[in-house]
């Protein structure tokens, strides 16, 4: 009698419902997935200053002072500049290579210092920073083209060539504390 019963039992589990379960999970993950990648302007902050430490001496000519006031007007080395000309001026400053005594000695010594007011609108600051980043991106691209014959983006991330270009035009951007 027992034998008889065992024969009648169907030991298989129906596999047809599997696809439905998988679909359900799939739809859930489709809905919660955010495909869009985060984009933004990257920046490396300087480490916190040690107490009573004097700032290192920097020659005035190697420093490009950019001031953004609360009305969103830009002053570059005491000269009023429209935001869309910031890029050109930064490029001139960085690639001076000692020609003009007012501008930088060499690209690796050039420092861009950015100072704002507390009331400066954030979008003006970002526009200005964007221009500075654009200047460096173009310079690095030129450097990569002349050194290796490819654009900067085509260089492998973390490769020696990329590092060489980075050393050629190091992004030295300092953000000063704003006026109270």
């Amino acid at each position: 009698m027992f034998d008889n019963k065992r024969d009648r039992e169907d030991p298989e589990i129906g596999g047809a419902g599997m696809a439905d379960i998988a679909f359900l999970l799939l739809i859930f993950f489709l809905l919660v997935t955010t495909i869009d990648v985060d984009t933004g302007i990257g920046l490396q902050l300087p480490p916190a200053p040690e107490e009573n430490q004097e700032p290192p001496p920097i020659k005035e000519r190697n420093l490009l002072n950019i001031l953004v006031n609360s009305q969103g007007m830009v002053l570059m080395d005491e000269e009023p500049t429209p935001v869309n000309q910031v890029k050109q001026k930064v490029k001139e400053f960085v690639t001076n290579r000692g020609k003009n005594p007012e501008l930088s000695d060499s690209p690796d010594k050039a420092i861009v210092s950015i100072k704002t007011d507390r009331e400066t609108p954030y979008n003006v600051y970002i526009d200005m920073l964007d221009e500075v980043m654009g200047a460096y991106a173009e310079l690095r691209n030129q450097g990569a083209q002349s050194e290796f014959g490819v654009s900067y983006e085509q260089l492998e991330e973390g490769s020696e060539q990329q590092q060489a270009i980075k050393d050629m035009y190091p992004k030295k951007i300092s953000i000063a504390e704003p006026n109270q």
């Binding site: 596999g15 599997m18 696809a19 998988a22 679909f23 999970l25 799939l26 993950f29 489709l30 919660v32 997935t33 955010t34 495909i35 990648v37 985060d38 984009t39 933004g40 302007i41 990257g42 920046l43 490396q44 902050l45 300087p46 480490p47 916190a48 953004v68 704002t116 007011d117 507390r118 009331e119 400066t120 609108p121 954030y122 979008n123 600051y125 970002i126 526009d127 920073l129 964007d130 980043m133 654009g134 991106a137 953000i175 504390e177 704003p178």
Partner: protein, 148 residues
């Protein structure tokens, strides 16, 4: 003609569906791996600024967000500018340092992404940056969208 008819009559018109769960599972695994589940509910208003020279953050798991913007009040009203980290509003800027220091201990290669409302005054951002410097979280990213 007769030959064609015979052939079509012979072939079985149904496609075997046994491989379907496999395909679905493959898609499922893909989406499971790419999903980042935790997204915070924003308590502050953030309109992103736009910029041209932006970079992508490849490793999303390293990113920690700080939101800055006018606080969302009931009835579409906006309050004063506040800082939000994770799911809570930070009233005192000084608390940012301890919070970010703790996060740094968990993830030494942390990238701090600042998501700031475009009309915010820059002063508060500088305060946050000072705190970040003290906390030692030095990799920063101003979240912006690609300019059209």
């Amino acid at each position: 003609m007769g030959k064609f008819e015979k052939k079509s009559a012979e072939s079985d018109p149904t496609i075997s569906l046994t491989a379907m769960p496999d395909i679905i599972f493959m898609l499922l695994i893909f989406f499971m791996v790419t999903t980042v589940l935790r997204e915070v509910t924003l308590q502050v208003q953030v309109n992103y600024t736009r910029a041209e020279n932006i970079e992508k953050i490849e490793q999303k798991r390293l990113v920690s967000y700080i939101y800055v913007g006018p606080e969302k009040l009931g009835g579409n009203q906006l309050g004063s500018t506040k800082i939000q980290i994770d799911d809570s509003i930070i009233e005192d800027v000084g608390a940012v340092q301890q919070l970010m220091y703790d996060k740094l201990q968990e993830e030494p290669k942390i990238i701090v992404s600042l998501r700031v409302h475009d009309e915010t005054e820059f002063g508060i951002v500088t305060d946050i940056q000072e705190e970040l410097r003290d906390a030692g979280t030095l990799r920063l990213n101003y979240s912006t969208q690609q300019e059209q």
